[in-house]
């Protein structure tokens, strides 16, 4: 009966509720160190298994008190025991079996320069492409050559006698050109211009005192004033009665400002006037 009990104990394994300090579950009858034999799965093995300890080093025996595990030696029971770990060792650089590849490796310094040069070249090309696209786009908004050619008007000054007015068309607007006499210049300069509605001296309004060039558009509502008329010997706007003097300054009537002076210049020894 006792034998039966012991056998029963062998078959009914105790549950592994306890864990050893090493982390292995406590299983008294389970040999966790046993490995498979190296003899081709045990077929045709000659002699004792090399990984099974011989009987004289100890083992499990059955006694009347139950299973007894007894170890007579202190060394590892298996003869060629070798624990396998995951290897963390690094390869030796001066390993004798590895050939010397240093002649095949590229020069890190010149490689670095070439890489930076390539990056810089790409930057140069893309920067100049960006600059050129921006500037071409801005140029597309500029006036074209034919528009610029129409924007200027040339006037032969020698054909205008002294004391006469000439009206020409420039950019759709009339332009008055007056060849002033010396008396008119004197009159324009002698006036007390600081007291005018739009105070401006005659020197500010003309580049050469004998030539007065102005836009012939009344500053009140845009009519074209009549020359050599009005109370001041200059221009008179028939629409609402504005009077301009011989320098084109507003003197009387509703006009708020003097007649506008366009951009002009004399060219080729005063023979021509270029407006625009």
């Amino acid at each position: 009966m006792a034998t039966f009990q012991a056998v029963k104990k062998v078959v009914t394994l105790s549950p592994t509720v306890r864990t050893l300090p090493s982390g292995i579950p406590f299983a008294p009858l389970l040999n966790t160190a046993a490995r498979a034999p190296h003899d081709a799965h045990g077929h045709g093995a000659a002699g004792p298994r090399s990984d099974v300890a011989p009987r004289w080093v100890g083992g499990i025996s059955l006694s009347s008190a139950g299973l007894v595990s007894k170890t007579s030696t202190t060394v590892s029971p298996s003869v060629n025991f070798q624990q396998r770990f995951i290897s963390t060792s690094v390869a030796r650089k001066d390993a004798p079996g590895v050939p010397d590849f240093s002649t095949y490796r590229t020069n890190p310094d010149s490689n670095r320069n070439l890489s930076y040069f390539m990056v810089g070249t790409l930057g140069v090309i893309s920067a100049s492409a960006a600059k050129s696209s921006v500037s071409e786009f801005l140029q597309s908004m500029a006036a074209s050559a034919d528009v610029l050619a129409l924007a200027k008007v040339e006037v032969e000054l020698s054909s205008i006698p002294e004391g006469k007015n000439v009206i020409i068309k420039w950019r759709g607007k009339p332009v008055f050109i007056r060849h002033r006499t010396a008396a008119e210049i004197e009159e324009a300069r002698a006036s007390n211009w600081q007291a005018f509605r739009d105070p401006q001296s005659d020197e500010e309004r003309v580049k050469k005192p004998e030539w007065l060039v102005m836009l012939g558009v009344c500053t009140h509502l845009g009519c074209v004033p009549i020359g050599e008329a009005g109370d001041y010997g200059g221009w008179f706007c028939p629409c609402h009665g504005s009077h301009y003097d011989i320098s084109g300054r507003a003197r009387k009537g509703p006009a708020p400002l003097n007649l506008e002076i366009p951009q002009y210049e004399f060219s080729e020894v005063e023979e021509k006037l270029v407006i625009g």
């Binding site: 310094d109 930057g123 140069v124 920067a127």
Partner: protein, 61 residues
């Protein structure tokens, strides 16, 4: 070796110098490219442009 090291130390080492060199050379490259293309265009179209044949038609001025 020392030459490439000198280039690296003068141009590439500081990013500010690198970017500045890129912008300066982009400016120079743009001008050079423009001049080169214009020269090539003029030599390719020699005798066809107005500035080449102007002397035949405009005598005065």
């Amino acid at each position: 070796m020392s030459f490439s090291n000198a280039i690296y130390n003068t141009v590439f080492k500081r990013n500010s110098v690198f970017v500045g060199a890129i912008f300066v050379s982009a400016f120079a490259f743009g001008i050079g490219f423009d001049v080169g293309v214009t020269k090539f265009y003029d030599s390719w179209n020699k005798g066809k442009q107005w500035k080449d044949i102007r002397d035949k038609y405009v005598t005065a001025d």
